[in-house]
Point group: D2
Chain length 149, copies 4
């Protein structure tokens, strides 16, 4: 397993992210406090990892393979308002035998201003055996291109 | 086709609805104005008709049959706040050859206070021929039990 | 009141829209059918009219003036999938004494492919008197720049 | 500061929760995988803590006092489907000088089946000084009634 000492890892630093998507803030993302509601950030993290994973799974084409979200950690750092866009950065922190940990940073578009950072723990899963399973080599290699450090 | 003169139909009248579900208002349904955002009402209408349609489709079990939403009309009458619940009433206004029109009323729980009313036009669709299709007799009969008037 | 014969108005025609915003489709906009859920289109319409109205209200700066959504009509024409973006076009169909009717078209980004069209009826409202009110001249003039025909 | 050894704390155990709300699952909570999307769980956690905090803040009536969400941890344990309801349990794990940690369990209604558990770190904040601040005694006392152990 490739492990990285978290103490060295500053998730608010744009330069650590290898893959990027831009998403639009919506008026009803705002809650009565006038800022983007905390649940929307889970959607931003999902956008970041899905943009990377979805084409890999489509290319792989194995309908038995799935990836299951086990844990999300979200650190809220600075509120977002409407209208606006966010740059969502995605990298991989750790690749285990049957798991992968993505890290994400949500930034105001085109700036270094970090609104939130997050981690998502995913497990590869075989829909036929109903058990966790190592990802196929092609997917593992692709994930390694996102690996930090 | 069974048609009913709309002029006679008061959608804010609880007594016209044949099927009911109760749904919970969520904190992030609220927008910066402090009331439930307009898009959430589409979800309430969907809850009303889905509660009725989903068991019918499951029982029918024909994987070629689908129902497609063609039009929604929503009249916003009174704001909703948090916390709270809504009673969502559903009836059928019209059954066509290949279509059905649902009507809905959204009420503050346990009251006559109508927050919104709506109509939804749906078309039965054959996924194999990619064409609209009459619903099977069992589904048509079930829809007739919701027919107003 | 400026009225336009609806029979002449093709809401699926991109060229009738005067104001545009681009929004991103999110993974969880999709429902179990694999396409963007109908409620999200209400959010797209809101994005179109809010992009125009919000700066006007901010500039106007009268905290007594509000605008209330009274009715939305949505026609669903073609499903949207993920990932992708939509161009949301906005124009004004009618300006009444105390009301305005926006029309919207939702198109796959950069194409003529219309996914949905909609209308939104709004009423200007005085928060102090709790009554509908004519919009101030500056706002009326701005709305007229979006008027079709 | 009251601290509790996390090793002893089983968040999937219904009996540790002191405050409960019931929420409804919506059709469009489902994503293409046919289960409730991960972002909805953040909304369930929010429902749990807001049901407790909102009346406290209303009673307290100090418009300078706010509470800011700093971190959420969510562990996904078992998928949820539609239709259905969830029981959301809320307790307090730790009360710091200017902070509080809520824990939550999301259960299928009326069962011991735990769908997810979570933690939310909140900071009390003075809107006037723009600094974190100890909560007033009444709110601290109320939070202590939710404290585990």
């Amino acid at each position: 397993m490739s492990v990285r000492d978290d103490a060295d890892l500053d998730l608010t630093d744009r330069s650590i992210y290898r893959s990027w998507v831009v998403h639009t803030i919506r008026y009803n993302d705002l809650d009565p406090l006038g800022h983007v509601n905390n649940a929307v950030y889970s959607t931003f993290l999902e956008a970041g990892r899905t943009a990377f994973l979805q084409p890999l799974f489509k290319e792989h084409g194995d309908s038995h393979l799935d990836v299951v979200l086990a844990r999300v950690i979200l650190d809220y750092r600075r509120e977002l308002t409407y209208p606006g866009k966010v740059d969502i950065g995605t990298s991989v922190k750790r690749i285990g035998n049957t798991s992968v940990v993505f890290v994400n940073g949500v930034f105001e578009e085109g700036t270094e201003t970090c609104s939130a950072t997050g981690e998502a723990y995913l497990v590869f899963f075989d829909l036929q055996t109903r058990k966790s399973t190592p990802p196929p080599p092609r997917i593992r290699e692709a994930l390694q291109t996102l690996l930090i450090g």
